[in-house]
């Protein structure tokens, strides 16, 4: 039912939107789509919780309604594939995707290439400032078709815009570290010493909260250490390298992290890992910056105000995670142009700051440099530095990654962290299966490049 008050609200909103729109002379691109309803598929995730708070503003400003289909993020993949491969048109106008789905979606022709849309007059917002988007994020989240299929370079095309992208940082309990005179670890050997030290100093507290659940989760935790410790999943010819001495070292360390971490670590997904830290069950956290917003929210965290942040410890090189989410427009979307407007609005300077203020992760350098936000979030300085080390080749972003991480590498790592198999044996055992999957994908056919 529309009441008089709603009508007034609508009018105020309309007045506001014209006021906010800088060039009154130019046609407002949103007008054409007033009354349209866009269906978006977003994950249940700290960044998107902040987005939900800002979304009503979009509707108020533009008259475009947004219907939100929210899913646990690992569950989005099958739903999106099914929707986007419907020949007659799917339900979604805009989707959020995890970085490692980008190649698959683009290669299967399921999402729109954005280059042409950004050049379309009357649709591309003039004050968008694409170059302000964090370059590492754009490369990692958005580009497909370049070197190795997923890096920046010749052949790369833009398919998505970073939104809820992230890198890894070390979170630590300032109070615990001060109490025992501990030094914030700058490298992996310092980190390893703390793993055994903390549970001895603080009875009942785990050292570092980590993901450990068999499958994609434990593979993620492994990648966090594999890269800084100097190995990769594959070499440049797609031969497995995760079982080399450095890979084994990373797996051994991961087992130690789970053993000295909060109880039940071997079954932790992202949420369990996060909650263990926020509920004060561990002294350290080494994962996505997306958790920073919640860590200082007393409603969600018992450790609000007690958390310090540092860049990901140095192994034999700097390499922090590059990942998180981007947004893309399905090829079979019903309202592509309106969806493109929503995409730009969400990642505009104004919305990026509003979302950051609500606890989300910025996609723009200008947001990290914003004085007001820096005063509010002192960690922004650390995060801006951490972003410099975000490694675009942190994991292979190929069609086969879901299968490799979920059913092969993640299972071996599950056996390692629960002590079923030794790291070397477990990793060696899966090499033939990994190679068979890569062979099937055609990676060894033409000189290893694809």
């Amino acid at each position: 039912m529309i009441t008089r008050r709603d009508g007034l609200k609508g009018m105020t909103a309309a007045a506001l939107s014209t006021a906010l729109w800088p060039s009154a002379s130019r046609a407002n691109p949103y007008t054409r789509f007033k009354g349209t309803t866009l269906v978006v598929n977003f994950p249940a995730h700290p960044h998107y919780d902040a987005v939900k708070k800002v979304l009503p503003q979009f509707t108020a400003e533009t008259g475009i309604k947004v219907e939100l289909d929210e899913l646990q993020y690992m569950r989005m993949h099958d739903k999106q594939l099914l929707e986007m491969s419907k020949p007659g048109g799917g339900d979604y106008d805009l989707i959020a995707y995890v970085v490692f789905w980008k190649s698959e979606y683009a290669n299967k022709g399921l999402i729109e290439e954005l280059g042409p849309l950004f050049q379309k007059e009357g649709l591309a917002l003039p004050d968008y400032d694409f170059s302000d988007l964090i370059p590492g994020y754009v490369e990692n989240i958005g580009l497909v078709g370049g070197p190795k299929g997923y890096l920046a370079g010749p052949g790369a095309k833009l398919y998505g815009v970073p939104f809820g992208a992230e890198t890894s940082v070390l979170g630590y309990r300032k109070d615990i570290f001060e109490k025992h005179g501990l030094k914030v670890p700058e490298n992996y050997s310092e980190l390893e010493t703390l793993l055994t030290k903390i549970p001895e100093l603080e009875k009942g507290m785990g050292a570092l909260s980590s993901r450990g659940q068999t499958g994609a989760m434990v593979t993620h935790a492994y990648a966090l250490h594999l890269n800084p410790l100097g190995s990769r999943f594959f070499d440049s010819n797609w031969q497995p390298t995760f079982n080399n001495p450095r890979g084994v070292q990373a797996a051994t360390l991961l087992k130690k992290i789970i053993d000295t971490g909060p109880e039940g670590g071997a079954s932790f997904g992202f949420d369990d890992m996060k909650n263990a830290f926020l509920q004060g069950r561990s002294a350290m956290f080494l994962d996505s910056i997306a958790v920073a917003g919640e860590a200082d929210d007393p409603a969600k965290s018992k450790i609000a105000g007690k958390v310090g942040w540092a860049v990901h410890p140095y192994g034999v090189r700097r390499s922090s995670q590059s990942g998180g989410f981007g947004i893309a427009i399905p090829k079979n979307a019903a309202n592509k142009e309106a969806a493109f407007l929503l995409m730009q609005w969400l990642t505009s300077k104004k919305a990026d700051q509003a979302i950051a203020a609500a606890g989300g992760s910025p996609s723009r350098m200008s947001t990290y440099r914003d004085a007001d936000l820096q005063a509010r979030y002192p960690q922004y300085k650390v995060f801006a530095e951490a972003l410099l080390y975000a490694d675009p080749d942190w994991r292979p972003i190929i069609n086969e990654w879901n299968e490799l991480a979920g059913s092969v590498i993640g299972v071996a790592l599950g056996d390692i962290v629960t002590g079923q198999k030794s790291p070397q044996a477990a990793l060696d055992d899966i090499v033939p299966r990994v190679k068979a999957i890569m062979e099937r994908g055609g990676y060894y056919a033409s000189n290893g490049s694809r």
């Binding site: 993949h77 099958d78 594939l81 099914l82 986007m84 491969s85 698959e104 979606y105 299967k108 399921l110 450990g212 659940q213 068999t214 499958g215 909060p262 109880e263 039940g264 670590g265 071997a266 079954s267 932790f268 263990a276 509920q279 069950r281 069609n399 879901n402 299968e403 979920g406 059913s407 299972v411 599950g414 056996d415 962290v417 629960t418 079923q420």
Partner: protein, 334 residues
């Protein structure tokens, strides 16, 4: 065949053999008999035809599709027309896949464990509650509640109870001074934890069926036993349990088939982990289809699961038939 015989049998006087004698009510209309008889014979088929056609379509189409798909290599999100024919490659892969054998072992362990425990507990509870007690109907209702809870909810509830940091059991154990138990994160315990959750949910199924069987037992047999001076336990062992057997057997079979297909609770509780320790076949199929996106391989796996369940059912039916024939023979001899 059976249907038509049954139908005709009703029209016939007791003792008449099918098709031999003319039914009494129809005497005198002998002229129309062949047509009438034909119509009578056809009637049940006509009535049953719509349901039969729908069932065949709904059952046969997906099954044939799944068989067809199992000979192809199809990745989710690409047009089906682009899929490749690969012959028996998917089945060959499956037989050489250690994960398949691991999940088959988990499935067998899980299915037999839950069925045995559920049958024992369910029958015991039924015998216990088959009497006139105060509040007995309240107890019965409470006991069948778990069965009515949606599987996803069961999974979540148990997941929270098992949580090693904040869960109910963790608090209980801590209050009693015991060390925390890694319910879901230890590969040795995870399967047991999953079995406990399933037993909690499905024992009531055996319980209500056993209770119904108990309450429909012939009073004469029980009375005769009582008059002969049988004790309570003797009556349970020698009269009630043997007479309930057919019902228990069917209930156990239904549970067994169900246990092979269980997915939701395990999906929520452990997602198959740690390692592959709780990766039951249906979850393995799900992961092959939607994580690895090998729909052909997933179809091959589903067909294998179907064959296993089918084989079990046939073996079970054969055993029941043998037992029944033996009982009949024994009864005739007496």
């Amino acid at each position: 065949m059976q249907l038509s015989d049954g139908f005709e049998g009703k029209l016939m006087p007791a003792g008449a053999t099918a098709g031999a004698a003319v039914p009494t009510p129809l005497r005198g209309t002998a002229k129309y008999l062949p047509l009438r008889k034909a119509l009578n014979r056809a009637a049940p088929y006509v009535f049953i035809a719509p349901a039969a056609i729908i069932t065949t379509l709904a059952l046969a189409y997906p099954m044939l599709q799944s068989v067809w798909l199992s000979f192809r290599d199809w990745s989710l999100g690409t047009p089906l027309g682009q899929s490749r024919f690969v012959g028996l490659a998917n089945y060959e892969w499956l037989l050489h896949d250690p994960n398949f054998w691991a999940s088959a072992a988990v499935t067998l362990t899980f299915a037999f464990a839950v069925v045995v425990v559920e049958v024992l507990l369910g029958v015991m509870l039924a015998i216990l509650l088959d009497r006139e007690l105060r509040f007995v109907s309240l107890f019965r209702t409470i006991f069948i509640l778990p069965m009515m809870v949606a599987p996803i909810v069961v999974g979540l509830v148990w997941r929270y109870m098992y949580n090693e940091q904040f869960g109910t059991f963790a608090h209980l154990l801590k209050a009693l001074g015991f060390a925390p138990v890694p319910w879901l994160s230890s590969p040795k315990l995870a399967l047991i934890s999953v079995i406990i959750a399933d037993v909690w949910q499905w024992t009531p199924f055996i319980f209500i069926l056993s209770l119904a069987a108990l309450q429909s037992l012939p009073a004469s047999a029980l009375e005769a036993a009582r008059i002969d001076g049988a004790t309570h336990w003797q009556m349970v062992w020698h009269i009630k349990v043997p007479l309930m057997m057919p019902v228990i057997a069917v209930a156990a079979l239904l549970r067994l088939i169900d246990a092979f297909k269980v997915l939701e609770v395990i999906y929520i509780l452990t997602e198959g982990g740690p390692g592959l320790s709780t990766e039951i076949m249906s979850l393995h199929i799900y992961k092959t289809a939607f994580v690895s996106q090998q729909l052909g391989q997933a179809a091959a796996l589903s067909n294998m699961l179907l064959l296993i369940v089918l084989a079990l059912t046939v073996i079970f039916a054969a055993l029941t038939a043998v037992r029944q024939r033996r009982e009949k023979l024994a009864a005739a001899r007496r």
